[in-house]
Amino acid sequence: MADSLAPRDADGLADAVRWAVAGEHPLEVIAGGSKRDFGRPVQSAATLSLTAFDGIVDYQPSELVLTAKAATPLATIEAATAAERQMLAFEPADYAPLLGTDGEATLGGALACNLSGPRRIKAGAARDHFLGVHAVSGRGERFKAGGRVVKNVTGYDVCKLLSGSYGTLALMHEVTVKVLPAPERTRTVLVFGLEPVDAMEALGAALGSAHEVSGAAHMPAEVAACSAVSYVAGAGASVSAVRVEGFPASVEARCGALRELLGRFGALEELHSKNSATLWREIRDVRAFAEDNGPLWRLSVPPASGAAAAARIADAADARTLFDWGGGLVWLGVNGAEDAGEAAVRDAAAAVGGHATLVRADAPTRAARAVFQPQTAGLAALTERLKRAFDPAGVLNPGRMYAGV
């Protein structure tokens, strides 16, 4: 049976890595385990659990920074920030329902996967809020980078490199993130019955306005039907959604202005705080795709090309689609394709400029297909050199992103 290590402190983590290096035991790194099936299957000899690294270390609301151990559940962070009327502005998703796991999403996991929700278009991605880190490299050495202040250019921005590295470079055990005031009020303007191309134009008009839109999504009719919000599920048509947040008077004024701007596209409705929160949580967690377990792709493309990319794929495969980030993020559930739709998806991403990730598929598919966008030779070589710079023996989540990395 494979070993399961659960170090209690940073020195224990370093010991565990040195043990793995010495005995050539590749490690699968996990915290809450909610995204354990995201990425290529890791060929590991042992599991390294970070669950002991749990708890908020320091939270200074007036400094807009929070330091926590990496495996602190997002729910803990969210409760603490909400008590101070603050939030993690990058709106990290909980993929546990989507990926069919019962694990608990953690702060470190959200950063390691650079998971950002609908507010990414206004507030930035997880990586934009990641200020400082204490970690152990694949060499078994403790190091830190960044700091505990929001403005810092001292040394390389190693936090950026670690966000989205899926545990392949270092074991993060303590992280510092930026927090921001939570909005007092939220309103969502819905536009009904638009085809994707027109929906992208409507979302683009909203995002190009001065109304500080913090969410811009489009749900084709069959996706809208899955919503728990009656105005959305009962529309019987596609639903495009535009969110504004902030101080009450400002939100009301911007909501009114957006209604005026979007009225020419179709019939309108307005969601208030509770329904709005439900809808954007569904979009954030891609809940419309949680009920099936087929292959699910995530395309990151130029926003104005989102509809074109989806249409190209729909021509080649039976696909269900959800658009977020004003069209810049396209979720695609593919049914019945032999290659999980890979050829069509890669072709579409290449045509419009962008990339695609196979977020969900069964293990054999994830082993056989490129889960992350295949890289050009130059980028792949640089990626390998960076992997070796942190983890020369290849003991941290080997192969999770790319074979040999």
Binding site: L161, P303, G353
Partner: protein, 493 residues
């Protein structure tokens, strides 16, 4: 700086001849008069003539120059507009300075995807100017924005007054085209929000020209806010001004800009440009709010109330664009004003946890008396980024050295209270030798291994950022005792 390589210098003529085969005559500068303007950047206390300057006109020429230098083992120093304040573009006597002045075109303003593609030599402000007819602008606004180049902004991860609300350069970048030291051309990111794979764009941004040379930049552009208004607030002491900043943040307000000036800075600015600042206060705050008119009006009133409760003795809010600009005039002239008060001044750039401001200002005051050098403080109060301006006279022997010593003490103080050495100006040569106060040897070695992944021969801008140069082969070594080690203490499930 590393000792110049006499062997490389002796090959100068042959290098110049080879470069002239790649670039036209006028793009390769090797005469002393032509080289002189490149001898320093904005940190003018450090000067050195480069061996050669080249001014490539496109990516292919950049790639060929780098490949040639790589082959010959010649060092490269990239240079944007030369406005940097930490000596990042300080030339090397045995190195080629690559200037980006001829890569100065705006290639595309894409309003549908809300981004702009520009060449690295384009001035920061020129992007906003080009986007303006479409109702957009580029948010990061370093105070040198009229002159500083976007390529330099990428290298330094530049900030500016508005970065509290809108982020630094790194938060507003979508992609770059970059040339590695061996001449290989890579694209990182694009018009989409997230890059694929490792966040190479993130680590290249702010890498001070040590990892690669950027030849094209894709930035996000934002719709211009419909309204902007500013408040000018005066306080009887630094502590109450600092407390007011805390109150503003606690009320859930993230102003577009939130600047503080201490008494010496206020008086210097007022004497310089008569902005109308109150002279009977110890500190002022300038708080700018932007967004929808109804929000701005509400928040201006709210901030005014918070200031009153924090003990402000002056509370003025702008009612016109002219008045708003006048509030900013003194702040924007602060460096010039310092230049008027003393023959020379030295700009520091540390970040501290905001709550520690009063004590840090007190300690800076003590240092000022100890070193007998006047200091004026301007402060990006919202994000804790402090800019003490130390005034001195370089014609007095030893004055520069004492100024630098005092500056080092201030930066060590920033680290001591939980802050960092540099908030937006970069490490460069200026703060290189202080890196050890913030980082351990292992921290720095891990950073240098990143350098080795990009530039294994360490030919790109060496001598900057890292106090000790290690060979990449040495950094890559790992001492492993093969065979099963016991590690009996490892806790298992």
């Amino acid at each position: 700086m590393p000792e110049p390589d006499a062997g490389v210098i002796s090959q100068r003529q042959s290098l110049v001849a080879a470069l002239r085969k790649l670039l036209p005559e006028y793009c390769v500068i090797d005469d002393e008069r032509g080289l002189r303007p490149f001898e320093c950047d904005g940190l003018s206390a450090y000067r050195s003539l480069p061996m050669v300057v080249v001014l490539p006109r496109d990516t292919r020429e950049v790639s060929r120059v780098l490949a040639l230098c790589h082959e010959r083992g010649v060092k490269i120093v990239p240079r944007g507009a030369g406005t940097g304040l930490s000596g990042g573009a300080l030339p090397l006597a045995d190195g080629v300075t690559v200037g980006f002045g001829k890569l100065n075109r705006i290639l595309e303003i894409d309003t549908a995807n809300r981004c702009a593609i520009v060449q690295p030599g384009v001035a920061n402000l020129a992007i906003s100017t080009a986007a303006s007819p479409y109702g957009f602008y580029y948010a990061p606004d370093p105070s040198s924005q009229l002159a500083c180049s976007i390529g330099g902004n990428v290298a330094e991860n530049s900030g500016g007054v508005h970065c509290l609300k809108y982020g630094l350069t790194t938060n507003n970048l979508l992609g770059v085209e970059m040339v590695l030291m061996d001449g290989e051309v890579l694209r990182l990111g694009g018009k989409q929000f997230d890059a694929e794979g490792y966040d190479l764009l993130g680590v290249v941004t702010g890498s001070e020209g040590l990892l690669g040379v950027v030849t094209e930049v894709t930035v996000r552009i934002l719709p211009k806010p419909s309204t902007a208004r500013a408040l000018l607030l005066g306080f009887p002491d630094n502590a109450s001004a600092g407390a007011c900043v805390g109150e503003i943040i606690a009320a859930g307000i993230i102003p577009a800009g939130l600047e503080m000036m201490d008494k010496p800075a206020i008086h210097a600015a007022e004497a310089f440009c008569q902005a109308g600042y109150p002279l009977d206060v110890e500190a002022i705050l300038i708080c700018e709010l932007d967004g929808p008119e109804v929000e701005v009006d509400e928040l201006v009133a709210l901030v005014g109330d918070l200031a009153r409760k924090s003990g402000a003795t002056t509370i003025r809010s702008s009612t016109s664009e002219e008045e708003r600009e006048r509030f900013w005039l003194g702040r924007k002239s602060a460096f010039g004003a310092a230049g008027r008060m003393a023959p020379d001044y030295y700009v520091m750039d540390g970040t501290i946890p905001r709550a520690r401001l009063p004590e840090v200002l007190t300690r800076i005051g003590e240092l000022s008396r100890e070193y007998d050098l006047p200091v004026a403080n301007v402060f990006h109060a919202g994000d804790g980024n402090l800019h003490p301006l130390i005034m001195y006279d370089s014609s007095i022997p030893g004055a520069l050295q004492r100024t630098e010593e005092m500056g080092s003490e201030i930066l060590k103080l920033c680290v001591e209270v939980g802050g960092v050495l540099t908030g937006e100006h970069g490490v460069g040569v200026e703060k290189r030798d202080l890196m050890g106060t913030m980082f351990t040897e292992d921290d720095l070695k891990q950073q240098q291994r990143i350098k080795c992944a990009f530039d294994p021969d360490q030919l790109l801008n060496p001598g900057k950022v890292f106090p000790t140069l290690h060979r990449c082969a040495e950094l890559g070594q790992m001492h492993v005792h093969r065979g099963e080690t016991a590690f009996p203490d490892l806790p298992r499930f």
